[in-house]
Amino acid sequence: MLLEDPMQGVAPMLTAIRKLQLSSEHLTTLHPDFLLFCLLAKCYKPGLSILEDDIFDVDQPRDFFLYCYYGGMICIGQKKFSKALELLHNVVTAPMSILNAIVVEAYKKYILVSLIHVGQFSISFPKYTSSVAQRNLKNFSQPYLELANSYGAGKISELELCVQAHNEKFEFDKNLGLVKQVVSCMYKRNIQRLTQTYLTLSLQDIANTVQLNSAKEAEMHVLQMIQDGEIYATINQKDGMVRFLEDPEQYKTCEMIERIDSSIQRIMMLSRKLTDMDEQLSCDPLYLAKAGKERQRFDFDDFDSVPSSKFTI
């Protein structure tokens, strides 16, 4: 690392991690450092391969935060937005007693990625977010929230204004690239909305509705989206018309069945893990102590094995 050549460090780190891990689900201290290397060297693929493993076992919380944050950034770089969203979500909602910088940065990126990937952002936190996060995160990310609001309004011009207004902040946070992606996503989302209403629409109309400058630009956008598989359409250049088609997926192919099957397997495994975790927690003395405190002292109905006095701490 000190040699300013992160590229060289990537491969040895990878091997080290594999050796140190107790299981593929274990997060070591090496993980975030490794991801940092990948980021600095701009070689994301090995980073991704590490990220593929699900992590369930964490030693150090700081590692965890860093790991998720860096992992999120790698995924954004590779345009794997759903994974990025997941990782950033984990950071934001992780249990914590004091706010830290990593979470704040992660939250900002989280807003942007959710705008890009899902098209909307809800201000309310899920219930399991720590109260610390809930109370304080918003204060630190004001410009991003404004951006989310104007995105929700659906007007390109407003969005651009907002971006202009907070340009410096975005640049300072090194998030300008993401913000630009958000703006381009806006067009895509508007076009997608049109597929719900129209069967055929002229390119000029598309340009007008989505507030693009010309039909040519609209054509470019639509073409891009068709290639990316985001919409299903055919462009009739002679008439200047776009015809929107239904999703041709019939859910009848073998691949689809395999996919469903593997999903089922995964989910079964997950629920098994869940039950295990539940059992473990039930036996945990701390949990029992807490639960015991809340029970009635003289509960004649359940005379099973937990007399409350034994566990008061």
Binding site: F56, V58, N90, I98, Y128, T197, T200
Partner: protein, 627 residues
């Protein structure tokens, strides 16, 4: 009958130019088709009946028919008929109606009237004395006869209420079932003349209870009258059944109430309007008894056969020819429209029934109408769910459709104003002007009508507003609202929205309604748009823009908004300006949802396990310095 022949002979002498039938005075006249395409032959028609009903029918024709010659003809015959009887009240009425137009022979004959009255007085006294004598002697049979005579007397003199009372009084003195039947028949006769058909029904059932005294003629009579009562009560199916059960023995024995031609006509029309195909075949076409009746009115027979064999154009043509004369029938006239509408609808439904797709041009030819009016009719039928089909308005084809999973598109609209207007619609008519320190009855009508229109679905609108008798009184006060609601229900959107536009300025001045006017109008307009598109597979936006009196581009915008809000399941072909209905593919959406749920579950559980792990290790994170 003597009186009959005398009358016809009398007419030949007079040589009235009003006679529009053929030669009269031949016996077969009675069996000639009376109700035909030409103008009603009044003499032949009147010849079917006797007694008081003849007079009532003639007076009815005189009142209802359009031209003066027919009117005078009818009045003349009525005059003659009355003079044969003893009803001076009716005589005076007819004289007043004639008004001297028929010459001195048909003027007010006071001498005759007075003579009749005097005779009546004498007879009445005599009857009274006799009755008192019988009553003191307590001879049941004589008392019964006495009351009967009284009843006949009053009936002849047109005092129907008293006649009825006396007939009913004989009930206590009836000893045999024959007496009971006799009393019932008399009561029925008077009730029909009075127009009180509830009595008819009850006395028919009473008479039918005494089975032993009933001969076939009486049974036939009772069936007819039961049918007549049901017809008046708009129960067409049951009425048809009763008429069809009437035995051929009825013949001409009940001409003081109904002629056999009428049995055929009423029975045939009601059956056609209300029976399904199987019943029509078994009970009408294959019914030997009823065939005798149908012979008397060959048009009805042809009509029914045409309908059954799907020759709709000629069937409807017959119907059209008969219509004018049916309006002159005293029992049928206020049911003609309804029956015709039902027959026409049944024809349309039966036509489309065996097909998967129907070319509307061919159908319009078959029904002798234009494609656009046919489309409107089909639209109404589809909206009322009587045909399961959708119209492809672009290619003019009707496609059969099975019921789709369409979400109720009026959910959001239903929520607003539902409670508000329900209160209003339940306001009884007694409100009147008694609450003017808060609200005027016109306001009840306006608020209730507008809110109902904005929030009810079609079925509720029909049952709670249009068919609501109480609320009708309120609607009479504000006829625009009434017209507006009717227009909406019958899909005349342009005029409905025009009414709304006119009312708007005034409604904005109403203290309670002003801040709701915009919302209600928007909802009504949306509902109109949704209802318009509902029965179609494809809609030409130009036509729709015309119907709504707006431009295609603004219409497109409105439709876009409705589609985005999921209130219409359709998509717009902006190139050709057509709206295509789009039905959600349930199977694919289910699969999509399943996969999505799986992914979400995956993600959530993994996060949760992670978090649990973190908590379990019981860490406390200290604030570390920024990177």
């Amino acid at each position: 009958m003597d009186a009959e022949d005398e009358a016809t002979g009398h007419m030949i002498e007079e040589e009235e130019i009003y006679v529009n039938g053929g030669e009269d005075g031949d016996e077969s006249k009675r069996h000639r088709p009376i109700i035909s395409g030409e103008q009603l032959d009044i003499e032949a028609y009147a010849a079917l009946y006797t007694g008081r009903t003849k007079i009532s029918r003639l007076l009815f024709i005189a009142e209802k028919c359009g031209n003066a010659s027919m009117q005078l003809d009818a009045l003349r015959m009525a005059y003659d008929e009355i003079k044969k009887g003893e009803n001076t009240q009716l005589f005076r009425e007819v004289v007043a109606k004639i008004d001297g137009r028929l010459g001195p022979n048909y003027g007010p004959d006071n001498a005759w009237a007075d003579a009749v009255d005097r005779r009546a007085e004498l007879r009445k006294e005599k009857l009274e004395n006799e009755l008192n004598a019988y009553r003191t002697n307590l001879i049941k049979e004589s008392i019964r006869m006495g009351y009967n005579d009284f009843g006949d007397f009053y009936f002849a003199h047109g005092q129907l209420g008293d006649a009825f009372k006396n007939y009913v009084r004989t009930r206590d003195y009836c000893t045999t079932s024959k007496h009971i039947v006799h009393m019932c028949l008399n009561a029925i006769l008077v009730s029909i003349e009075m127009g009180q058909f509830t009595h008819v029904t009850s006395y028919v059932s009473k008479a039918e209870q005494s089975q032993d005294a009933l001969d076939s003629i009486t049974i036939a009579k009772l069936r007819c009258t039961a049918g007549l009562a049901l017809l008046e009560g708009k129960k067409y199916k049951l009425a048809a059944r009763k008429f069809l059960e009437t035995g051929p023995d009825l013949g001409n024995s009940y001409t003081e109430v109904i002629a056999p031609q009428d049995v055929a006509t009423y029975g045939g029309l009601c059956a056609l309007a209300s029976f399904d195909r199987a019943e029509l075949k078994s009970k009408v076409i294959d019914n030997i008894n009823f065939r005798n009746f149908l012979e008397l009115v060959p048009e009805i027979r042809e009509l029914i056969n045409d309908f059954y064999t799907s020759h709709y154009a000629s069937c409807l043509e017959y119907l059209g020819n008969l219509k004018a004369n049916l309006f002159l029938d005293i029992h049928l006239h206020d049911h003609v429209e309804t029956l015709y509408e039902q027959i026409r609808n049944k024809a349309l439904i039966q036509y489309t029934h065996p097909f998967v797709s129907v070319d509307l041009h061919m159908m319009a030819n078959a029904f002798n109408t234009s494609v656009s009016s046919l489309e409107k009719e089909l639209e109404a039928l589809i909206t009322n769910n009587q045909i399961q089909a959708r119209i492809d308005s672009h290619n003019k084809i009707l496609y059969a459709r099975h019921a789709d999973q369409r979400n109720a598109t009026f959910q959001r609209v239903l929520q607003t104003g539902c409670e508000f207007d329900r209160e209003f619609l339940e306001t009884g008519p007694d409100l009147g002007n008694s609450y003017t320190e808060v609200i005027a009855p016109q306001d009840v009508a306006t608020y209730g009508g507008l809110c109902a229109l904005a929030s009810f679905d079609r079925a509720e609108l029909k049952s709670k507003v249009i068919d609501n008798i109480n609320f009708r009184n309120f609607l009479e006060l504000v006829p625009e609202i009434r017209e507006l609601i009717n227009d909406f229900y019958t899909s005349h959107y342009a005029s409905c929205l025009e009414y709304l536009g006119n009312l708007k300025a005034n409604l904005l001045l109403d203290i309670h309604l002003h801040d709701h006017v915009e919302t209600l109008y928007e909802q009504i307009r949306n509902k109109a748009l949704i209802q318009y598109t509902h029965p179609f597979v494809s809609v030409d936006l130009h036509m729709m823009a015309n119907a709504f009196n707006t431009s295609v581009s603004s219409l497109e915008k409105e439709l876009e908004a409705l589609i985005t809000n999921n209130q219409i399941q359709a998509r717009i072909d902006s190139h050709n300006k057509i709206l295509y209905a789009r039905h959600a593919d349930q199977r694919n959406t289910t699969f999509q949802r399943v996969l999505q749920t799986g992914c979400e579950f995956d993600r959530e559980v993994r996060s949760m396990l992670l978090r649990a792990n973190l908590i379990k290790h019981e860490f406390n994170l200290k604030a570390s310095r920024k990177h």
